[in-house]
Symmetry: C2
Amino acid sequence: METLKIAIAGFGGVGRATANLLLSRRRRYRDVYGMDVRLVAVCGSRAGLADAAGLEADRLDGLEPGLSGPDFIAASGADILIEAGPSDFRTGGPGLAYIRAALTAGRDTIVISKGALVHSGRELRGLARASGARLKVSGAAAAALPTIDLLDHSLLGCTVIGVEGILNATTNYLLDAMTARAIGFEEALAEAQAGAFAEADPRNDTEGWDTASKLLILANFGLGHDLAHDLMMSDLTVEGIQSVTRPQIEAWRERGLVPKLVGSLASEDGAIRAGVGIRTYPLDDPFAHVRGKNKAIRITTDAMGETVAIGSGTEPLATAAAALKDLEHILVDRTARPLALSELPS
Amino acid sequence: METLKIAIAGFGGVGRATANLLLSRRRRYRDVYGMDVRLVAVCGSRAGLADAAGLEADRLDGLEPGLSGPDFIAASGADILIEAGPSDFRTGGPGLAYIRAALTAGRDTIVISKGALVHSGRELRGLARASGARLKVSGAAAAALPTIDLLDHSLLGCTVIGVEGILNATTNYLLDAMTARAIGFEEALAEAQAGAFAEADPRNDTEGWDTASKLLILANFGLGHDLAHDLMMSDLTVEGIQSVTRPQIEAWRERGLVPKLVGSLASEDGAIRAGVGIRTYPLDDPFAHVRGKNKAIRITTDAMGETVAIGSGTEPLATAAAALKDLEHILVDRTARPLALSELPS
């Protein structure tokens, strides 16, 4: 049986959840794909662990200081890198060096953190093309919510006219609380921080940057073939929810409207207009009923009309599952004959 | 450039829409896949037309009597069959003979009509496995609404716990009209028939058989690997909307509930419970806002929670686009290297 070696760089909550879910699915990988999938290396920023024979779950609490970095991953002999480090779209974050090294070496790469993709997406796609490595980004594009999948699989062949998405769980939770319970932004934020649904410095979410990052990934990785050049953060108008007031919420409610922080793309005369800001939806729109930490996307095409998807996976498991969906798509590619579940022996 | 020859059997509204959409996308197939895709044969039950050099749109109104049947398709030299004939789940319909012949000959087959898949799905999957032909069924599984796609692509790797779907446009239109305008079933049906949204004999839709057919295709082609044997129509409890009364609708409305005709599957202790019937949804459920001729599906999995998709494509274009999505998935398989749009030159 063929062995496939996986390394995970970035070992916080999502990296650990990915490792554990991967280990729990080893039997599936053997049965469905005939592949012996091994976790051969994990590392955070300062410590890691490697074993070419495969790490078991009980060893993942014993990381060794100093084992980290792209050279550590390369030395592990991994065939596939899963990158799950902290995201920083202004610098590319620590993931950028890992992803660059893996793609340059021809190693298939599954990216979960958004920073490197936003900062250097075009360069990374170029590295993948040059080496023949696969580059998968579902985990960075709203995770369990199907987004890139819809664009490049379910709607394949159609021309995309527009995309709008509720792409950030924290802001949706906050706006939902403000709307449903008539509380202000600061009060909702304090509650969310107390419940660990919002970070101590929430601005990446509340000012719209996380939504904008996902929108750029959708545009550049999902619609890239339609664009003359990659969309960059500077091409977007980005507004957040921090200045939404209780009187505004109340006025919308009186008119039967629900506010959402939405990233949107529209194709107009060959150019793309994109931005992040508040939009309001009437109660008969499915977007009005995307509650709590759920996410949603609406894609309008020439031949299939509107397709709306709403996802409610819980973190970090759902993000891990999105990255491992990417892994299975790679397994499908790597096995001799493309697989459809309908073609399996039954 | 490699040539790929397509035949379409069944040439009513959907077959014609598929032919025209295919012809309009020939440049895309050349640019994206490097394939010269030709429509080499079309036929209805009594007439057809074939030309190995490829048919153009202006010839599709001049079908010649007597050119029909599986042997006619085989003689056309088609590499791929698109089957779009009338659906009959009790007999398999005229499509069954076309699909059997194509799969036996190793011809990739895209099925739009549901009858043969419901009647003989297991046999047809066996024929495809034996010959190595691909068998694609998106057009038969709620068409533009992603259903099979979600199961075998977007949620790949997850264990499906349950599926429920608003899978039939006509009954959703009728129930929506009855609910929104407080009219009875007979009045709503007469309106829909006048507007050509319901057939003269509407029972296949209104009694739930069309929903049940799609549910069986989802189960047997989307979840087939989990089932010890195919689900058959006789395994389902099938109820329709014909006996829903105005007082019932009014009572639901007073309680803030919206009725929908839903096909559902649930996995319980390794067995599948499946059926078709009315379910009611509160106003904060996205299913309550699936209006008119739209469709929807909700899939619950272990690792990604609930995923809801809502589709609003208009017929017959959306169904044609679903079948041609299947065609592009075959083109992806047939081209040397699996394609992701993100990997295209940009």
